[in-house]
């Protein structure tokens, strides 16, 4: 099972463009990232620039509308994420607990949707079901 651990740093919603993380924090996080890597469960990770450097697209009335950051109404924004491969939600939570998070940080743990999680009709829609049986090839995979 794949899980995303989403870092939500309080105050990041107001961070100015080009905000840099503190060196000691970075060091602590690097050690944590290494631990995930050494455990063989880390699939991907990224940090995100603050919303002041970003944009939001909304779709009221079916028409896309762009708003540049920062976003006054946003109470929580994403600072970054890890994607991990573990056997259960409990395991993902245990890993999230090991993160050296600070006073104003929250990690949200969310399971990644896999095709098998969808109902059969959704799966068909997602796959654009086509007949695969008339295969001209004959190669070992």
């Amino acid at each position: 099972m794949r899980f995303m651990m989403i870092m939500i740093p309080k105050g990041y919603e107001q961070a100015t463009p080009g905000t840099q993380p503190d060196a000691k924090r970075v060091e602590a996080m690097m050690k944590y990232n290494e631990a995930l890597q050494k455990a063989g469960i880390l699939l991907a990770l990224d940090g995100l620039h603050p919303p002041s450097m970003g944009a939001r697209v909304s779709f009221a009335g079916g028409k896309p509308k762009v708003t540049d950051g920062p976003f006054a109404e946003a109470k929580e924004v994403i600072g970054g994420y890890w994607m991990i491969q573990v056997k259960s939600k409990e395991e993902a939570v245990q890993w999230a607990m090991r993160c050296p998070g600070s006073e104003n940080e929250v990690i949200e743990v969310r399971q990644v949707q896999e095709l098998e999680d969808f109902t059969p009709d959704l799966q068909q829609a997602a796959e654009g079901f086509k007949d695969l049986r008339d295969s001209p090839g004959g190669k070992p995979r």
Partner: protein
């Protein structure tokens, strides 16, 4: 901890901590079997105490301290019962190691211990199936029941296999160490073989109704990735990881919605997991860098790539092709030629024939495959007649193709694959598959 899931939370902690715990204990007590028992005792204590007291801040250290105290207790009993001088060595180790041993601060030691554990679990004194069972149990952290289910044997059989394996290591007095330079290559190859065996068990079930058991692929990938961090200078380790990442990227595309197999060249590439492909290609880069070799231009490897790197390069060729038609068959054929030099086997020759068939035409492919058609080792290998049948079909030799597909269907142990091959035979005989017709 939520009252509803104390055991599941503890199970999760166990999966995270058990391998390093057993490894550290094994260095102390010099016996992998005993180390595992001590670790299990600590788990029992955790299951008794943590639901009420909560999971400690440093669960690894708690488990280690608990296991060590138990070891010391046992030691006191034994010392009183009989004084044996040769035990004094590890006994002193045990008594002198600080109680608050923090598994994280002595990371390098733990890394070495984990490596020692992997080598010990794959020791040549054990049969391959014992090596697999022990690796999954001690490093993979799987329960006996999980391993038994994965390999389709009764739990009691698997339990016996593990008990006997531990006993064999004890009786042979297998030292808890990283092999010396002279044996390292061979011993590492054994570890890689075990990991790849687990992966293949998940990737393509050899018998039974189901095509794949993806969970074993995950376990193998995790073991491979762990090893890559423990032995980062070994190109073949990165090669194996690359191979597994790329093969795993195709898991979703390998079966169609009805569960029937889909050949690689017919797979919907939109279903190939790009994250895993990216990771696989990155692992190949690491392989190229790790032995001082230059990035892949494969006429000029500074140090010849090993078999896993070569197989990964072949998988990467497919992964990089946006469509089947875009496949670089020339390169694949050349990689197989290199593999034939390094690790010649009739099976590699069959795969080589496929590549040559695509690069130079079916007649050339048939010529290659006929160099091994009569190999006794391939008598029951269903992919040989499958490939031969395909090449013959392309050459318009339909009667012979029919005979080969029929033969292949009879040889495969996988029910879905059998149906698939029977349908190919029927198609070649000019009949249409019966599915969907009254």
């Amino acid at each position: 901890m939520t009252a509803s899931n104390p055991h599941r939370a503890i199970e999760a902690v166990w999966r995270i901590e058990s391998a390093r715990l057993i490894a550290a204990l094994a260095r102390l007590v010099r016996d992998v079997g005993r180390a595992e028992e001590l670790a299990q005792d600590a788990l029992v204590a955790a299951l008794e105490q943590w639901p009420q007291a909560g999971i400690p801040d440093n669960p690894g250290a708690w488990l280690m301290a608990t296991a060590k105290h138990r070891a010391i207790d046992q030691l006191r009993h034994r010392t009183l019962a009989a004084r044996k001088h040769q035990q004094l060595g590890y006994e002193i180790d045990l008594l002198e190691t600080p109680d608050d041993l923090d598994l994280d601060t002595v990371d390098d030691d733990i890394g070495d211990d984990l490596l020692r554990l992997m080598f010990t679990a794959c020791h040549p004194v054990l049969s391959e199936e014992a090596q697999v069972a022990l690796t999954l149990r001690l490093i993979g952290g799987l329960s006996t029941e999980e391993i038994a289910r994965a390999f389709l044997v009764p739990e009691t059989t698997m339990a016996q296999r593990i008990v006997r394996a531990k006993r064999a290591l004890s009786e042979a007095r297998v030292p808890f160490e990283i092999p010396g330079a002279a044996q390292l290559s061979e011993r590492l190859a054994a570890v890689l073989q075990v990991i790849y065996l687990v992966f293949n068990e998940g990737y393509s079930a050899t018998a039974g109704q189901d095509w794949a058991r993806p969970s074993l692929c995950e376990d193998a990938l995790r073991l491979g990735r762990i090893l890559a961090e423990l032995a980062p200078h070994e190109a073949e380790v990165h090669g194996l990881v690359a191979l597994m990442e790329i093969q795993a990227s195709r898991l979703r595309a390998r079966v169609d919605p009805s569960g029937a197999p889909v050949l690689l060249l017919d797979q919907d590439r939109a279903k190939w997991d790009q994250l895993l492909i990216h990771r696989g290609l990155a692992a190949l880069e690491r392989a190229a860098r790790s032995n001082g070799a230059r990035p892949p231009s494969f006429a000029q490897f500074a140090i010849a790539p090993g078999p896993y790197v070569l197989q990964a390069e072949i998988a990467a060729c497919h992964a990089r092709a946006l469509t089947a038609d875009a496949t670089d068959w020339q390169r694949i054929a050349a990689l197989y030629a290199a593999l034939m030099v390094l690790a010649p086997s009739p099976i590699v020759a069959v795969n080589s024939a496929v590549a040559i068939g695509m690069a130079e035409g079916p007649a050339a492919g048939l010529e290659m495959i006929d160099t091994v058609s009569h190999e006794p080792a391939l008598r029951n290998y269903h992919l040989l007649p499958t490939v031969r049948g395909d090449l013959l079909e392309k050459l318009g030799r339909y009667d012979e193709a029919f005979a080969e597909f029929t033969r292949a269907a009879a040889l495969t142990g996988n029910a879905r694959e059998r149906r698939f091959l029977q349908e190919r035979a029927a198609r070649v005989a000019g009949q249409f598959p019966g599915k969907g017709h009254a």
